[in-house]
Amino acid sequence: MIPILEIKNLYKSFGGLRALKDISFNINGGEIIGLIGPNGAGKTTLFNCVAGIEKPTDGRITFSIDDRALSIGGRKPEAVTSLGIARTFQNIRLFDNLTVLDNVKIGRHCRTRSNFFGAVIRSKFQQTEEKMITESAEQFLEFVGIKGRGQEIASSMPYGDQRRLEIARALATEPRLLMLDEPAAGMNPQESQGLMNLIRRIRDKGITVLLIEHDMKVVMGVCERVVVINHGEWLAEGVPQEVQNNPKVIEAYLGTGAADAAQVG
């Protein structure tokens, strides 16, 4: 089976700074993949290259759906979303001053068509589409667990719910691949558990999930495979247990000598 996402020899430099060096790995459809590494390793930069916010300096990113392979390195972010890759942000980027429901409705943008004329004359098509947008938005809210809060202002919601809302909005774009950037940040164990369930339910809907995460319980609990990068380079890859015990990985997180210490201890 063709992997849904192939990253091949990806380089990204900012001026003189090499953020990503020769990164290669694949993601297969239906997997939940974790992307981990110490702070500053380049994880978000990698997300940004896939999502189109940054243009790769070199290398290829190939997104394959329905046996069609598309090169997406360097495409504009809105095009990437239309193709079927959605992402959330490390620092939650909601439309703070809009309602919860509007946030998700905006997520439906790339799957809908009505324009100025439809808006003004309220054609049959536009009315049907609006109805669909509202109904599906409510369904997405229910799916992530914040049903019935549609009219609240996004910024007034508790932190954990804001995270869920951002995920709902991303899901509303009907992605095949969902990239979550530290979704469990700031969550307590209960909330993390809820998040893990949500991620599994997302995967059960047929959406591949790639997540950056620091919370190891979440990584171990929900990821089937883990990719480790450090200093912009691929370090290790494998099932969570393997990676956890990989001496190079331990060293990356805890510093040299820690691997030995871990073995002795």
Binding site: P77, F89, F95, N97, S114, Y159, G186, M187, N188
Partner: protein
């Protein structure tokens, strides 16, 4: 977007219906003079212009300093088409709309990728060039001599063997302007509650997040600019057929600033706020025009007052009189911290 759930009308809706009824019967009331009607028509005109401009800073968060350029283009196009070809105003309205939109796209496409400051300056430069063009191209516009003798609006049924009824006095123009304001208002409401409006609000709130939802920034900004320009041109077309005389110095930067004042004062992004701002400033302008000479002050003090009002508004009430939360948050002091603070681990969020 507050839909009353109960069968009783909300207070807001009652006020609006009351105003509408008042507006409908106003010209018939005994104490209403032609002068008063003239002022109210002026208010209606500026409401249309304000609603048009409101799209750009109010719905999209960009500063357009060159709005008078579209107003002027609309006015002169309307005036010239009438002067040379005797075109019916009912044809001119859609033409003005389309013409305005085209100019909006022409100016917007290359410039809307610029940051806020540069965009403001470029729009300013554009409107200045329009005035220069109107002043200098005498063969076309008669330049500073102005364009007099533009036909009044008329309803011409001669093609169907009927009469030709010309607008005489202020009353017909009053009702025409009222209808145009209502239509403009209606369009704005429809846009606000639609996919297009939501895309604009998304851009205004957070461009990066908007892009991640599949919204192409440039496309939607250009659409906003084009529609804004279209309404400016329509306003201009009305102006030409109403005052029946045009001259380039009616379309200077001051007008752009004045309309900007109206939407800022009233509450940017708020349809009613913007209309209120128009009503207030036009009234204030007329009141000052009468009162200042009585105080021994030159009429120009009006402008000074407006400048001062803007400075004070920005200082104390930047979101305007009827603010909407989305814009109020953006206009208030205190740069919003972009990072969402992660709650300390262990505390219940």
């Amino acid at each position: 977007m507050d839909k009353p759930i109960s069968p009783n009308l909300t207070r807001g809706a009652k006020i609006r219906i009351g105003l509408l009824i008042l507006a409908l019967v106003l010209p018939i009331l005994p104490f209403v003079s032609d002068y008063m009607l003239h002022i109210i028509i002026l208010i209606f005109l500026y409401m249309i212009l304000s609603l048009g401009l409101n799209i750009v800073p109010g719905f999209n968060g960009l500063l357009d300093l060159g709005y008078v350029g579209f107003y002027g283009i609309g006015a002169y196009t309307s005036g010239l088409l009438t002067y040379h070809f005797g075109l019916s105003y009912w044809l001119i309205i859609p033409l003005a709309f389309i013409n305005g939109a085209i100019w909006g796209i022409l100016l917007g496409a290359p410039t809307l990728r610029l940051t806020g400051d540069y965009f403001a300056i470029v729009t300013f430069g554009f409107s200045e060039l329009v005035v220069l063009f109107l002043t200098n191209e005498i063969w076309l516009t008669r330049g500073p001599l102005g364009l007099p003798g533009i036909d009044v609006v008329s309803i011409d049924l001669t093609l169907f063997g009927g009469p030709k009824w010309e607008f005489v006095g202020e009353i017909p123009y009053y009702y025409l302007a009222l209808v145009m304001v209502l239509v403009t208002c209606f369009v704005m409401y429809r846009i606000q509650d639609s996919r297009l409006g939501r895309a604009w609000f998304a851009i205004r709130d957070d461009e990066v997040a908007a892009v991640s939802c599949g919204i192409n920034l440039l496309t939607y900004k250009v659409i906003a600019f084009a529609i804004s320009a279209a309404f400016g041109a329509v306003g201009g077309s009305f102006f030409a057929r109403w005052v029946t005389f045009l001259s380039p110095d009616m379309f200077k930067f001051w007008e752009s600033f004045l309309i900007l004042c109206m939407i800022v004062l009233g509450g940017m992004g708020n349809i009613w706020g913007v209309m209120l701002g128009a009503a207030l400033l036009v009234s204030l302008s007329e009141i000052l025009r009468e009162v200042l000479p009585l105080l021994g002050l030159p009429v120009e003090v009006r402008f000074l007052a407006f400048g001062l009002i803007m400075v004070l508004m920005m200082r104390y009430r930047p979101a305007g009189m009827l603010p909407i939360p989305a814009v109020a948050a953006k206009m208030r002091a205190g740069r919003k911290k972009r990072k969402k603070e992660k709650p300390v681990a262990g505390l219940k969020s």
